[in-house]
Symmetry: C2
Subunit: 377 residues, 2 copies
């Protein structure tokens, strides 16, 4: 993925604020601006992206230099690497990255007066590597969070990746629906789901989120799978995210160990209606908090206690991002956003139901990206 | 786990250098000094540990405050939390952590003159929260890597956790040995291993490392499982780590899809001898690089190209840590260290064999902690 659009959006934003040099240290920023899935920002494999008046230089460990080469082959893009694993000397990735950064930054800082920094991700030792090169009179502008609103509207390449991710997610749900049986445990359902997704992908995948029986006595909203056995009349929440090429999906279905009880049928049918109603509200120009308010109102009118979590959220390089569908959010939906919606009803100790779809906001409304079967058995 | 020993070792080291206040930002340091498995240091769930003349304060997101309470109940230990997930306002964990840090640090900084900082893990925004409180004439001492040598000798509580981890690792190998069959793929072996470990643990586990057929044409030493099919005469390297309560195990076996070829039998037998020889060298007082040199010498004398990787390494809160068994390392083994040894022979495009055991250095020699079956079929 070339990520040309992403860099154009970022350059425009930086120029608007008169920023000539910038240092992107947040791994999500590095991923988004380069378009390649290089491990970044972790203590284990630190990566950085240096910006200098329209040009970008990716700093990676040498073990990932081959993977990064396609980025460096593009106009205005460069790759530099530092020594990672070796048996000939102590491994010192942060120290070696700091020295490389100083080398890369040096040329660009002679006449800098405004430098942008992602201060929440840049470690102190890396900052020192830059600071000692800076002339006396510079301005430092924190640019934390600047890219998040730019990331909300997805490019066609990003949407294609997210679609692939949803196909893997659907495969996980088929396995999950089959695995929810009385006597099996939450963890057994999880291993069935995980194995199905990884076997379909032909590789290890990072997966989330919730895999729990509805009869959990306190938090029956979500959580990782545990050694808890499914009973014959249990509902089961499988809220599944697949991280594919760096991009998250999300999805939720509620499955049943046996024939659903009358109460479960009533709840499930109502949540289906709530989700359909929520989906009907998704179109460009809608304000996030208004969707939130309306869907909560729908639950309350049905006589149910309103869920304590978000009504929905954007997805992309994270599992929860702009636009959040929550009470305070004035953000306006735009075509190209990918939004999750997930109403639920929870009776701790008894049962719980949540259903979730992923929507691509289109020029005229929304397209459902998730394809999992959320119906009653 | 109380981690009292860990804090005593750290306090001694800090006092020796005249450090009165310190800020531990490396998640491994936070984990080791608190003894609890609170997610730390990631952008997702940042945690910090503030040290002030013998007392420790753990700063965590409110969602983990209950988990952290057992730490706060100990003498000289405190827990403070900041707001994480909310639907009422934007989630701003780094900003909220910075404000909490300023509040916690303020009292202790009045008369500070030497403050220790893990500069490779502390982000610039968190540093700013402290710096603006500091009096003019302070000294800042980077304390990156200080705890790593202190972590090398494990406490009895740590060894107990690592033993539990090895029992889960052994379960993974039983499943892996059975799953290596002609026609199955690397990823199928992996899902069998992963499912067995997670089902035994009753929860999701973080797992590593290598799961590959010996006939890979270039790198047949290691790598994650891919969509590569096992052939009838293939060897298969399963190098498995289980991260249990924050502590890594490690282990490697070589399995065979059918009856091993004469060459495979020869290689396997030789690597068994090399591993037994390496194990015989492990005892307190031995210098790491001398073990490395001797085992490499053993391979060369056998007429084999010497493996390009380490001969071994310590394990603990990371998968590769002190004491590294590599050519440059003068560190001396001590009782309580946990050391992996892993000689291997690699013929790219043909076959590869590696065997690995985990050793607890005892007063008189070594105890093998790994219990997986590394024998020929």
């Amino acid at each position: 993925m070339a990520a040309t659009t992403q860099r154009q959006r970022a350059i425009k934003r930086l120029q608007m604020d008169g920023i000539e040099q910038a240092l992107f240290a947040n791994p999500l920023s590095v991923r988004w601006l380069t378009g390649i899935d290089v491990p970044g920002g972790s203590a284990e494999n630190p990566s950085l992206l240096w910006y200098d008046e329209g040009e970008f230089t990716l700093l990676v460990e040498n073990g990932f230099a081959a993977q990064a080469a396609s980025f460096g082959a593009q106009k205005g893009c460069h790759v530099r690497d530092y020594l990672g694993y070796t048996i000939q000397q102590p491994i010192d990735k942060p120290g070696k990255l700091a020295r490389l950064l100083a080398e890369v930054a040096e040329g660009g800082l002679d006449e800098t007066d405004v430098i942008g920094i992602e201060t929440q991700s840049l470690s102190l030792n890396l900052w020192w590597a830059v600071r000692r090169l800076l002339p006396g009179g510079y301005d430092l502008t924190p640019i934390d969070g600047w890219l998040e609103p730019l990331r909300a509207v997805k490019t066609p390449e990003e949407i294609a990746i997210i679609r692939e991710g949803f196909r893997l997610t659907d495969i996980g749900h088929v396995a999950g629906r089959a695995a929810v049986q009385a006597g099996a445990r939450e963890i057994d359902v999880w291993t069935a789901v995980q194995s199905a997704v990884e076997q379909a992908a032909g590789k290890r995948m990072q997966l989330g989120n919730d895999c729990i029986v509805g009869h959990r006595p306190t938090n029956n909203i979500g959580g990782p799978p545990a050694d808890i056995t499914i009973r014959p009349d249990d509902s089961f929440i499988l809220d599944l995210s697949v991280i594919h090429k760096g991009y998250w999906t999300d999805s939720c279905a509620t499955y049943y160990a046996g024939t659903p009880t009358a109460q479960q049928v009533t709840l499930h049918t109502f949540v289906e209606e709530a989700l359909a109603y929520a989906i009907s509200l998704i179109k460009p120009g809608t304000v996030a908090k208004e969707i939130d308010e309306k869907v909560r109102g729908f639950m309350a009118k049905g006589g149910y206690k309103v869920y304590p979590h978000h009504t929905g959220h954007g997805i992309g390089l994270t599992g929860h991002e702009a636009a959040r569908i929550v009470p305070y959010n004035d953000e306006v939906l735009e075509a190209g956003m990918v939004i999750m919606l997930e109403p639920g009803i929870y009776f701790p100790g008894v049962t719980s139901v949540r259903l979730e779809d992923g929507l691509l906001v289109t020029e005229t409304g929304a397209e459902i990206l998730s394809g999992h079967d959320k119906r009653l058995p």
